[in-house]
Symmetry: C2
Subunit: 326 residues, 2 copies
């Protein structure tokens, strides 16, 4: 089996490659080769029992996607995108990478023809939804994105469904929850604080909480996200039917519940490292975000997320901190 | 006021131009000039009290859209599209005209910048919805098109909303019901029979009914469609809010109810001209179509459709038959 990962230098792409290297197989079939691609050079996972080819290029440029799929990978993970903030700041770049890039990839697969019908796993986002929302967003709620990024992801979902219907490939789109706890340095994304208030205190550092404790949001761990990708790559397409885009399960919890979990896991000394400093700009952005989903279809199809925020913290401590809280 | 109509040679485009010629104004403001465009040369409406420029070109080609908007029309009606059957048969052409063409138009407007902010009215379709449906489709039901045409129209809606949000223009997308009674010759569209069984018998000719009388569908007259376009061109955008795409009101009725109306209006001799000849292929296609909508937002915003099928038939007899039933 041959695998292609687009966006392999990103946090989720890297963890996916590491998981595949550890498993050595996908859906029970040994992996013979992986192509890892990104706009910056990805790093091959250590100890992979298959050959890894690492490539850096801009596949939104003409001909770029053709080269990537010419070896006819059996599974294509399309995680490549520029993020919400950048797509909003640079309109043309957002559409070029997130829309044209995705379409070039899909067309490159379509043009091979000749019975080639890979599984294409596309990471979409809960940004395809825009406020006002019902209290819990069901599987049939409409997509009215309020950002260019969300618009581009929705268009990717629509193309994926149509190309799949036409038999050009076998696509599954998955809408990821906010990934928490994100490893690495604090970033300036408006959603960053959900992770910052866990990761930093657990590592002995201070973090700022810019919103009130009753803000509710929809989370899954990086490990769960990788699990979604693996499951989407191996699931029976016939069971999914023509509606190929799925809201992934997650955990709805308030910031207050996050902090309580942090207290149970790390104790008072850890939660004392959270400094409350309200930021009206972030509060306003967050007020427009979805809080809770009823991801019934994905759950019925076997996608699994954490059930408690304690579990999300435990995943972080195991996977990133070697089991040790500072 | 300057007007641009794309798709001006089509049935609805032609009727829109005729109505504007008759009114001489739009939203109370006199029309100084109209540009009528299509892939084939449109005909200027008779007796227009404003100058008409008729153009034929393919605006999906590079630079085509720029020329059309360079005179900075105040209102752009974008009705141009290749139809469902052709978009399904010729995948690349469908995406080139219906997606790339629309995007080129929107980008041409965006690139003018400089405070230029025209009202753009985009005709979408109930093909943005795909079965299975609830009994009546509400304003928040999701878009899962089951055709490439429906996919392309949904993408057009998303782009319209995002470009409007970014302030590049002031867009309104309207999802037209099936237009009934369509004037002209019977065509081979799967939906053709809804009009054929009215138009042909009223003109003294036989028509074939290929489905059972309990098939329900969603209709509005050509006159109502033109009314939607005019209202969409002049409505206050602030009242519409960020959700810029609206399901138009219409009339849900069964084929049996259509025939009863035809009997009331034309008598037994007219309905006797309908020949029942079931076509399993058409029956299967029609089974996947929406039947009824709850177009609450559009009704609240003042869009108006016929309330009975008798009214739809009367519009046809007045507008197409000079008031005379054969």
């Amino acid at each position: 089996m041959k695998i292609l990962i687009l966006g392999a230098a990103g946090m989720v792409g890297r963890k996916l490659a590491e998981r595949l290297a550890k498993d050595g197989r996908l859906g029970g079939i040994p992996i013979a080769r992986a192509i890892l691609h990104d706009i910056v050079m990805p790093v091959a996972p250590a100890g992979a029992p298959f050959s890894c080819e690492c490539l850096a290029s801009d596949f939104s440029l003409q001909g770029g996607a053709e080269k990537l799929v010419s070896s006819r990978p059996d599974v294509i993970f399309h995680l490549a995108a520029i993020v919400s903030g950048e797509a909003e700041a640079d309109f043309e770049k957002g559409y070029r990478i997130n829309l044209d890039g995705t379409r070039h990839l899909f067309d490159a697969v379509r043009r091979i023809g000749d019975g080639y019908n890979p599984r294409v796993v596309f990471t979409s986002s809960i940004a395809v939804f825009g406020a006002p929302f019902p209290e819990a967003i069901g599987d049939e709620f409409f997509n009215t994105p309020l950002t260019s990024y969300g618009t581009q992801k929705t268009i990717g979902e629509l193309l994926l469904a149509d190309y799949t219907r036409k038999g050009f490939f076998d696509g599954i789109g998955i809408r990821l929850p906010t990934i928490c706890v994100r490893p690495g340095l604090p970033n300036k994304a408006a959603s960053g604080f959900f992770s910052n208030i866990c990761r930093e205190p657990l590592a002995g550092k201070e973090a700022v909480l810019p919103v009130s404790e009753d803000v509710m949001h929809w989370h899954a761990s990086p490990r769960a996200a990788v699990g979604f990708l693996i499951h989407a790559a191996t699931i029976d397409g016939a069971k999914v039917g023509p509606r190929r885009n799925l809201t992934m399960p997650g955990l709805a919890c308030t910031v207050g519940e996050q902090i309580e979990a942090l207290r149970r896991i790390g104790g008072e000394k850890v939660v004392a490292r959270i400094r409350r400093e309200r930021d009206p700009i972030i509060e306003k952005i967050v007020a427009g975000w979805p809080r809770r989903f009823e991801a019934k279809r994905a759950v019925a199809l076997g996608f699994k997320a954490e059930k408690t925020f304690d579990d999300i913290l435990k995943v972080h401590i195991e996977d990133e901190l070697g089991g040790v809280v500072s």
